[in-house]
Amino acid sequence: MATPVSHPVNEPESASGRALRWAFLALLVLTGLSWAGAHAPLGHLHGLFALGVAAIKALVVAFVFMELRHAGFVPRFIALLTLLFIGLMCTGIVADALWR
């Protein structure tokens, strides 16, 4: 059975305790903002607002908690590729549904 890898060797710079606490606070504020936005008279912008705030929250988690900001090229490339793929798929499906 393989043993866990010894450390630290080429370990990425990690998020500081202060950064983690600020990110957590930001996530809580953004969650409150999402909830408030859902009850505000935004009309057709409800969906855009909710998903926009969700995207910002996901970026905070990815860059601070998942340490993507300190990660190398490959993790960033995979994350970007995944996002592009999701965007492409959703856009294609909505276009198909709307213009069928």
């Binding site: 450390h7 859902a38 996901a58 988690v61 993790p75 995944t82 549904a97």
Partner: protein, 217 residues
């Protein structure tokens, strides 16, 4: 190449993953590829939701109003907190603060169980009213086809997510055991990094499920 010569060659050239730095790089690449594939799995469901939402917008909006918003919102707070504690556990291990790491991992597990408890409560409430997936849907207040589709997707998406939470909790319990037995330490903790990354992905998926299933009406 015969078996003997292959064995000799393997002895002469040690595995490229024998070195800690190359193994670490390989594991990091593997987890990110895995997380990418997991995201694609959910992306299919998100895309399906987007397509049906475009076709049955009004039905989806009415159906979302029957989800318990307070449960979804509380679960969002619970998962975000658990994600913070997962990151804090890693931070504590790197700083050599074992007790804090243990406490953080316990918090992750407790919050994960809380999430599942709240989700079960909502499932029970829905099922008792006839809000079930697919052909089992018997909710008379929303007989529209779009509402049936919404709740089928709701069960698929939240069910798959809950399955990931259960897997994540198992990993966290294993990591708790390792930290407790001093097998995961300040010097060797790559498994905690990988486990925390997985848990954060579970959190990110919920960050999008919450507005789609509870808030956008």
């Amino acid at each position: 190449m015969s078996r003997e010569s292959a064995a000799l060659a393997s002895q002469a050239e040690p595995s490229p993953y024998a070195q800690p730095e190359t193994r670490r790089a390989a594991l990091t690449l593997a987890i990110w590829v895995f997380l990418g594939s997991e995201t694609m799995l959910f992306a299919g469901l998100f895309a399906l939701y987007t397509g049906y939402r475009a076709l049955y917008g009004a039905d989806f909006a009415h159906a979302a109003a029957f989800n318990e918003e307070w449960i979804g919102s509380l679960n969002t707070f619970v998962l975000i907190s658990s994600s913070f504690f997962a990151a804090w556990a890693l931070h504590a291990v790197r700083a050599g603060r074992r007790v804090m790491a243990l406490a953080s991992l316990c918090a992750v597990i407790a919050l994960g169980l809380c999430f599942l408890g709240l989700k079960s409560l909502e499932y029970y409430d829905h099922l008792s009213r006839g809000i079930a997936p697919g052909q089992f849907y018997t909710f008379t207040r929303l007989p529209q086809h779009g509402a049936r589709l919404f709740f089928t997707l709701y069960y698929f998406m939240t069910g798959l997510h809950a399955l990931h939470v259960i897997v994540g909790l198992s990993i966290m319990a294993w990591l708790l055991h390792r930290v407790h037995r001093k097998r995961t330490t300040r010097e060797r903790h790559v498994e905690l990094e990988l486990g925390a990354l997985y848990w954060h992905l579970v959190d990110i998926v919920w960050i999008f499920l919450w507005p789609l299933l509870y808030l956008i009406r």
